[in-house]
Amino acid sequence: MTGSLLKEKLERGEFAVTAEIGPPKSASGEDILARAKMIKGCADAYNITDNQTATVRLSSLAGSVFIMKEGMEPILQMTCRDRNRIALQSDVLGANALGIRNILCLSGDHQCFGNQPDTKNVYDVDSTQEIMIFKRMRDEGTLWSGDRLKVAPDLYLGAVSNPFGDPREMHVMRLRNKVSAGAQFIQTQSVFDLDAFESWVSEVRRDVSLKDVKILAGMLPLRTLKAARYMAESVPGTCVPPEIVRRMAAAPDEEKEGQRIASEILDGIRDMKGVSGVHIMPVNWYSAVRPLLERAGLLTGHSLR
């Protein structure tokens, strides 16, 4: 069985690219494959989101298996919103047996934002505790309860962080908890403000306990003025400078301006000290990913299994 190629690349100190694929509301694998094919070869690994925005979609585990058939390495997102520790451990064993190595542990968007607002959330554990459980499974070869596993999973464990959370110290402490629990890589909330992001990165890197964790800067190419406004006004915890909204508003061609802005941000991320890679969230603009990476000179050298 192959280990995580994402891990190998990040540990070699090379700039890594990850990209997100959102499974559709569909019982067919064709739909996710169609999305995957649009960005195949663009990234080192691909996040398969887990019922993002608390909206029911094809499962992240099934989605991961589908893209693996295309030779694409998945990052399986697993929220603890929908799973107790029994389901988390069972799913991670199953995922590992199917060849999945990268797991992104997250608490998950609150159900009130999705299409099942009447549901009951689980939160038996939070994302930090989810990481602790998976780390024990991998390193000690036991379940959280101590029961020995016949075969321990091989896992590369990730978590998320919001560089723009306020007060910063509080959010950095949360990050420290995730890393001390065992998070090896971090994918961040979308970066639109490079200065604010750089100042966060340098603060994080000054923290001895955070100097080795791999940080992949999140980015979301803005396709329309509406999307820019939405990100600026309605998405909790994001920080879109007014200048970006102004530029989108003034642009004769919103998509072109969106690409230009994305390129500027990506160049900034690529050249920033302390940043290990980029994580692109195309939402529904998959066709933007390839030209964006090409312009940044980041399209070559992505490994296919």
Binding site: N121, D126, M132, I133, D166, M170, R174, S180
Partner: protein, 223 residues
């Protein structure tokens, strides 16, 4: 205290209808739900007026009697209203879910109908506004979090710090609600103890919580 919220009178009317109405006793409680303005003397009076108006418009000749007991969750206080209960066809409890159940247990042949939804264990934060404080997890650890329970007060019950949706000290789920982790951070910062927030809490032992059904507390050697 136990915080309750009145059901709309129309819903209560419908619930009473299931049992045919008739002589209806509206029984409030002078304890928690009285403080949370859901089932005390005033609320009993208001409920009766509202139900009478609905009865008039529906052409129902039901009769209503109102009363409260000191604590509906304790059988010993039911004695004072035993006659009223005996004379009624339907007993509408305006106590909390505990009071209503004890009432039903002690009056097996009566039809007990709830008129109050029990919301939570909370406290009044300003006049007429009540906030949940405790989920009754059975294993209190608020000494580590500045006296603030995140299981009750964080929308995701996070135990190791805030989620990314903590904005300006508010919760993304409800902008009128403080982010519990922000409150903890602020309280600890003022005491110079923010390091407590980097003490990682392992997965919680929920066996002391509700997940095993009704919990029993026994006081050994007590009366």
């Amino acid at each position: 205290m136990i915080v309750g919220e009145q059901k709309p009178p129309r819903e209560v009317f419908d619930l009473i209808s299931i049992y045919g109405g008739g002589n209806v006793l509206i029984l409030g409680c002078d304890s928690c739900v009285s403080v949370s303005l859901a089932g005390g003397k005033e609320e009993v009076k208001e409920m009766i007026s509202a139900l009478q108006r609905i009865c008039e418009s529906e052409g129902m000749g039901w009769t209503f009697t109102g009363a409260t007991v000191r604590r509906q969750c304790e059988k010993r206080f039911h004695g004072e209203v035993a006659d009223l209960i005996a004379e009624s066809d339907v007993v509408v409890s305006m106590g909390c879910g505990v009071g209503a159940q004890v009432l039903a247990e002690n009056n097996r042949m009566k039809n007990v109908v709830p008129a109050v939804n029990t919301s939570n264990m909370g406290a009044q934060v300003k006049h007429g506004v009540f906030k949940e404080k405790c989920v009754g997890c059975g294993d209190c650890t608020i000494h580590l979090t500045a006296g603030i329970c995140t299981l009750a007060r964080c929308a995701k019950s996070l135990q190791n710090g805030p989620c990314g949706g903590s904005i300006d000290g508010k919760c993304e789920v409800d902008p009128d609600t403080e982010c519990a982790w922000y409150q903890i951070y602020e309280a600890l910062r003022q005491k110079g103890q923010t390091e407590l927030m980097t003490r990682v809490m392992p997965p919680k032992d929920w066996s002391k919580s509700h997940s095993r059904g009704a919990r029993t507390v026994k006081k050994e050697g007590n009366r």
